[in-house]
Amino acid sequence: MIPAAFEYHRPKDVGGVIALLQQHGDEARVVAGGHSLIPMMKLRMTDVQHLVDLQDVAGLGGIQVAGEQITIGAMVTQHMLINNADLTEAAPILKEAALQIADPQVRYMGTIGGNVANGDPGNDMPALMLCLGATYTLTGPNGTRKVAARDFYEAAYVTVREDSELLTQLTFAAPKGGYAYEKQKRKIGDYATAAAAVQIAREGGLCVAASVSMTNLSDVPVWSKAAGAALVGTDCGPAAIRAAVDAALKDINPTEDNRGPVEFKRHVAKTVIGRAIARAWSRS
C-alpha cells in the first residue's frame, strides 16, 4: 500500500493547473481531496507521475445560492455541503445524499468536484447532479465550456472531460417540491448496493414534474427520463410508483460483485427507487 514515486505540484491558480496538465499530458492528474485517487495510487492501480494538488488554487471554493441559481465550487467538501444552511434550505437533497457518503473523516476531505469528475459509478454525487439537471463548468487550454451532467458520463471512469481540462464549478436551478436520496449499503464507508435520487414537484394532488436517477446500477450514473415521465400527471400512488419503477429498471444494467448477484441488485433497486419516490412525494 505504498504508491510509486511521483512529482508533486501545488499551483496557485487555474492557469497554473492547466499549464501543468498540458505540459505533462496523461502523466499528470489533479488531486482534490484525494479520497478516491490516493487509494488507487497506493494500490498501484493508477500510475500518476505528476500530481497536481488543487488545495491552494484560488477560485475553486464557495457555495452561492443566488435566487433560483445555485453554484458550487469544485473544491467544496462534502462536509461543507452538509453544513451550509443556505444550500440545505434551497436544495436539501444535497445534505441528505452527502450524509450517506462514507464517514465524517472522508467527508472532511472529499470534494464535490472530485466526486463528480472521478467517473466512478459508485460515487453518489453524479446521480444527484443528473437528477437536478446540473451543468459542469470545464476550463482548459482552449477556454471554458459548459457540459450538462446528463451528457458527461460515458463509461466507468470515462467522461467527456479532456485530460487537460479542470472541472471548476457545478451549477443547477434550485429544485422545487419533495426530494429523497435513498441508498442501500452494506456498512458505513461502503458504496451503494443501489441508490436513487428523486425530486418531485406537485400541484394540488398531482405530480407536475419528476426526476429520477440512480447510483451504482450501471457503469455510469443513470437518469431515467421514462421514470420521471411515468410520474407526471399521476397522484404518485402505488400504481404510478410501480410504473415509474418498471421504467427505471429498464434503464439500468447492474453487474454482480461482492454486494450480490444481478437479480438481487435489481430487486433492491426496485425497492429503493419505490421508497425514494414515495418519500419524495410525501415531502412535496
Partner: protein, 807 residues
C-alpha cells in the same frame, strides 16, 4: 475520617481495588492518548525495511525469479528467495501443528498472497519499489478451493513435498490432499442410537472462513548484535516465549542469546499466535546485513496471508425421542486448512476441542470425526480461537438444536431446557470425554428468558407472521437463542502441549521494601487489560493495593516462561499462577508478621491488607510493614526478601457458559437487518473486574455480529481472495453495532484457585449462533431449516427469494 481514625474494614477493602472491583483500566490512559508503544513504533539507528513479493496466483509453478531490476532500485540492499534460505535450511519452517510451511516459495506457490521473495531496503518506499521490480515467471496449475473437490481422486496434487507420505503428524493420510482424520467417541453406538431413534434431524452446517483483522497488523523488528551474539526480536507475538524457543530451534542460536519482546499489541485474536515467514526473513536479513530489520504487513497482506479462522463443513445428525429428549449426536467435519496445516492446536488435538460439540446438553452417546484437507487457500486456522474449534462446536450444536426443534415441531427454548445438563450432574462426564467442572444452566436460562419476556416475544412474532401473510408488512421478526458451553484454559500438561511444550503458565512476584510490587507473567495482553485485572487478583491475595502493583509481560529476558495469551487461557492459567504465587507471598508474610507480633505463626490471620492476632484485631501488622521488615530486619530462620514464583499446571479446563438472546428485524426485500435487542448473560465463574468483563463481552459480541452478518474471506474458483480490503471485508463500526445488555450468574470453577473461568472468547463463541439463529428463526414459519453464514444482505434476500416471499 482524619488520619487518626483507623479505616474501616470496608474502606480497607475498597482501597485495595481487588477482585470484584470495577477498577478503571490502567492501560487506557496511554492508549486513548496515542501513547501506546507498538512494534511499528520501535525505531532503531540504521534500521532497514523488508517487504514481500507475493504470489498473484493460488497455484502455480515458479519458473524463475529475476531480481536484477529490483537490486538496481536505489535503496534496495538485498532480495532473498528460497534459494538464499535453502543453505540455512530456512526455506521451510515447521508449523505449530506438526506440518511444515514454505518460508519463501520453493518451486511453487500454493495460495494467493504467498511469500515469494523478500526485499530489504533502506526505507519502506524503496522496499515497495523493489517489490514491484522483481520479475517472477509463473506457470499456472489447476486450483482447488473446495475441500470436497480436493479429496476427489483426480484432484491436483498440492503438497508435492509430501509425495509418498501416507502418514502425517496426526496419523494416516488417505489422499494426497488429506492431512489427518481425527475421531472421538463411539461411532457404532452413536449410529445405533440414531438408527433406533423416533426423531432424527440431519443438516450440513458450514462455518465460513473469516479473519479477525486486528487493528494492528503483524510485524516485527529483528536486531542481531554481532558483537555480543544476541538477537533481539520485537514482534506482535501472542506467545513470546514460544517464539523464542522456536527461533532458537530453527536458527541454532542458543535460547539465552535470543530476547523476544512483545510490546503493546493492537489486538490479536489468535492472528498473532503463529510464526510467519516475515519473522524468519527479518531475522535472516538482520544476520546478513548486521542491521536491524523491520517488517510490518499492510492490511491486505494481513487479510490475505495471515491466520484465518474457521472454514469448517460440519455434517450433523441428532436424534431424540418424540418428547424431545436427545439420544445421540453424530458429527463429521471436513476441515479446510488451506495450503499448510498451520493451526496452533495442542498436539493431541488436531481439531482442537471440537469434541465440546455436545454443548450444554446431556447427550448419552456421540461421535466426532474430522478430516483435515489441503486447499489452495492461505494457511492459518488459528484466529478467533479457531485452533481450539470451540466456536465451531458451539455454532454446530446450537444450529443442530434449532433444526431438531423444527423436526420436533417444538419451541427451541423448551427443547434446550429439556436437555440441559442439570446442576446436580456436575462434575459432568461428556460423551466425548470432557469433565465439565461446574454449571447451572437452568438458572441462567430462566433468567435470560424472563429478562427478554420470551413468551411475549413469541406472541409478537406470531402476530407479525400473520400481518406479513396479509401483506401489511415486509418485515419479519427473528428470535435467536443460544446456550453455549465453552472449554477454555488450556491446559493440563498431561493432555495439552504445543510442539512438546506443556501449556502451563507462570507468575513471578517481587514485593518492594516500601510495600509496592511488580509481578511478571508468561502471558501477554493484547487489549484484555491484564495490567488491570492481574493486579486485582494479587491485591486480594496479598493485601497490597492494585494501584501499587506493576504488571509486566512480554519480555522473555524478564518474564517467567509461559505459553502466552490466546484461547481464553490467561485468567484460567496465568491468573491461577498469580493467585498461587500470591499465596506463597502471604505464607511468608504470615511468618514475618507472627515474629513481629511475638506470637506463634498460627496465632495470626490474614485480614484484607494485614495480619492480625486472632481475637485481638487491634494487634496487627500491615503488609506494608511486613514488606519493610522482610528486607530490613533480621528474622531468625527466615531469608530476607519477599518474592515468589509459581508455575501453574491446571488440573482441568474451565467451562464458562452463557445464555444469549438476539431479537432481529429483517426486511425481506432488501435483506437488511436491524438488531432490536441483544441480551447476553455470561457465567465466567468468579468475576475479577465486572467492567473489564463487560468490555470484553461488548467487543466479542461485535466480532460475532461481524462474522454472522457479513464478514468473510471469500475466494473465487481460481483462488483469488475476493474480500482482501476493508471495502469488502466487513469490520463493524459504532454505526453497525447494536446496544447490548449484559448480565451474569456466578458459578465458580471448583478447581481454580479463585474460581475464575475466563470470558475473553465467550461472546464470540456464543454470539455467532445467537445472531445466526435469529436470522433462521425469522424464516422458520416459512419453512427455512439451514442457510449458511455470513448473513449479508444478498444472502438473506436469497433466503426470502427461495422461500417464495418475493412476488
Amino acid at each position: 475520617m482524619n488520619d487518626l481514625t483507623p479505616p474501616t474494614h470496608d474502606e480497607r477493602v475498597a482501597n485495595l481495588k481487588g477482585m470484584g472491583h470495577s477498577r478503571k483500566r490502567v492501560e487506557d490512559a496511554r492508549f486513548t492518548q496515542g501513547k501506546g508503544n507498538y512494534v511499528d513504533d520501535v525505531k532503531l539507528p540504521g534500521m532497514l525495511f523488508g517487504d514481500f513479493v507475493r504470489s498473484p496466483y493460488a497455484h502455480a509453478r515458479v519458473v524463475s525469479i529475476d531480481t536484477a531490476a529490483a537490486m538496481a532500485v536505489p535503496g534496495v540492499l538485498a532480495v532473498l528467495t528460497a534459494k538464499d534460505l535453502a543453505p540455512l535450511n530456512l526455506h521451510w519452517m515447521p508449523t505449530l501443528a506438526g506440518d511444515k510451511q514454505m518460508v519463501l516459495a520453493d518451486g511453487k506457490v500454493l495460495f494467493q498472497g504467498q511469500e515469494v521473495a523478500y526485499v530489504v531496503a533502506t526505507d519502506r518506499y524503496a522496499a515497495a519499489d523493489g517489490v514491484e521490480a522483481v520479475v517472477v515467471e509463473y506457470s499456472e496449475l489447476p486450483v482447488v478451493t473446495d475441500p470436497f473437490k480436493a479429496l476427489e481422486p483426480g484432484a491436483p496434487v498440492l503438497r508435492e513435498d509430501l509425495a509418498g507420505q501416507t502418514s502425517g503428524a496426526h496419523g494416516a493420510r488417505r489422499h494426497h490432499n488429506h492431512i489427518f482424520k481425527w475421531e472421538v467417541g463411539d461411532e457404532a453406538a452413536t449410529d445405533q442410537a440414531i438408527g433406533e431413534a423416533e426423531v432424527v434431524a440431519e443438516e450440513m452446517v458450514y462455518y465460513h472462513r473469516t479473519h479477525p483483522c486486528p487493528l494492528e497488523t503483524c510485524g516485527c523488528v529483528a536486531s542481531m548484535d554481532k558483537i555480543n551474539g544476541k538477537l533481539t526480536l520485537w514482534g506482535t507475538f501472542q506467545a513470546p516465549h514460544v517464539v523464542r524457543t522456536v527461533a532458537s530451534l530453527l536458527s541454532g542460536i542458543e535460547e539465552h542469546n535470543i530476547r523476544v519482546i512483545s510490546p503493546d499489541i493492537g489486538g490479536g485474536f489468535g492472528n498473532k499466535v503463529g510464526v510467519y515467514p516475515g519473522y524468519i526473513c527479518s531475522i535472516v536479513a538482520s544476520i546478513v546485513t548486521g542491521k536491524p530489520v523491520k517488517w510490518v504487513e499492510d492490511r491486505m497482506e494481513n487479510l490475505m496471508a495471515t491466520a484465518f479462522a474457521r472454514d469448517y463443513w460440519m455434517k450433523g445428525k441428532i436424534s431424540a425421542t418424540k418428547e424431545g429428549k436427545i439420544t445421540g449426536l453424530h458429527c463429521h467435519v471436513t476441515a479446510d486448512h488451506g495450503a499448510f496445516d498451520a493451526c496452533a492446536d495442542p498436539t493431541k488435538f488436531p481439531a482442537g476441542f471440537m469434541s465440546i460439540c455436545t454443548g450444554s446438553y446431556d447427550i448419552p452417546v456421540a461421535y466426532l470425526g474430522v478430516d483435515g484437507v489441503y486447499t489452495n487457500k492461505a494457511p492459518g486456522g488459528v484466529s478467533y480461537r479457531c485452533s481450539f474449534r470451540v466456536t465451531e462446536a458451539a455454532y454446530f450444536i446450537e444450529r443442530m438444536i434449532e433444526v431438531l426443534a423444527i423436526e420436533l415441531n417444538m419451541d427451541a427454548a423448551e427443547l434446550r431446557a429439556k436437555n440441559f445438563i442439570r446442576k446436580d450432574q456436575f462434575p459432568y462426564q461428556s460423551a466425548l470425554g470432557w469433565e465439565y467442572d461446574s454449571g447451572d444452566y437452568h438458572t441462567a436460562w430462566d433468567k435470560a428468558l424472563k429478562a427478554v419476556d420470551y413468551d411475549g416475544l413469541r406472541r409478537e412474532q406470531a402476530t407479525r407472521v400473520e400481518a406479513f401473510k396479509r401483506g401489511e408488512t415486509r418485515k419479519l421478526l427473528g428470535i435467536g437463542l443460544t446456550h453455549f458451553t465453552e472449554i477454555v484454559g488450556a491446559g493440563p500438561i498431561k493432555n495439552c502441549d504445543i510442539l512438546g511444550m506443556g501449556m502451563f503458565d507462570s507468575c513471578e512476584i517481587r514485593i518492594h521494601p516500601t510495600g509496592s510490587a511488580i509481578a511478571r507473567l508468561g502471558t501477554i495482553s493484547q487489549g484484555q487489560g491484564h495490567a488491570t485485572t492481574f493486579a486485582q487478583i494479587l491485591a486480594s491475595e496479598i493485601g497490597i493495593p492494585a494501584d501499587s502493583i506493576t504488571i509486566e509481560e512480554g519480555d522473555t529476558d524478564t518474564a517467567p516462561y509461559g505459553l502466552g495469551t490466546y484461547g481464553s487461557r490467561s485468567t484460567p492459567v496465568a491468573g491461577a499462577a498469580a493467585a498461587m504465587a500470591g499465596r506463597k507471598i502471604r505464607a511468608k508474610a504470615q511468618m514475618i508478621a507472627a515474629y513481629l507480633l511475638e506470637v506463634h505463626d498460627d496465632d495470626v490471620e490474614f485480614d484484607v491488607d494485614r495480619f492480625v492476632v486472632k481475637g485481638a484485631p487491634e494487634r496487627f501488622k500491615t503488609m506494608k510493614a511486613i514488606a519493610y521488615a522482610a528486607y530490613n530486619q533480621a528474622i531468625p530462620g527466615v531469608e530476607p526478601g519477599l518474592e515468589a514464583v509459581s508455575y501453574y499446571d491446571p488440573p482441568n479446563m474451565t467451562y464458562p457458559f452463557g445464555a444469549y438472546i438476539c431479537v432481529m428485524e429483517i426486511d425481506v426485500d432488501t435483506g437488511v437487518h436491524e438488531i432490536r435487542q441483544f441480551y447476553a448473560l455470561d457465567d465466567c465463574g468468579t468475576r475479577i473486574n465486572p467492567m473489564v468483563i463487560e468490555g470484553q463481552v461488548h467487543g466479542g459480541l461485535t466480532e460475532a455480529l461481524a462474522i454472522a452478518m457479513g464478514q468473510e474471506i471469500a475466494y473465487d474458483e481460481i483462488g483469488n481472495v475476493k474480500t482482501g480490503t476493508l471495502m469488502d471485508f466487513f469490520l463493524p463500526t459504532a454505526w453497525e453495532t447494536p446496544h447490548y445488555t449484559s448480565d451474569h450468574t456466578v458459578t465458580p470453577s471448583p478447581h481454580h484457585p479463585i474460581g475464575a473461568k475466563g470470558v475473553g472468547e465467550s461472546p464470540n463463541v456464543g454470539g455467532v449462533p445467537a445472531f445466526s439463529n435469529a436470522v433462521h428463526d425469522a424464516f422458520r414459519a416459512f419453512g427455512l431449516r439451514q442457510s449458511h453464514m455470513p448473513h449479508d444482505h444478498w444472502r438473506i434476500w436469497r433466503i426470502a427469494h427461495d422461500l417464495g416471499l418475493h412476488d
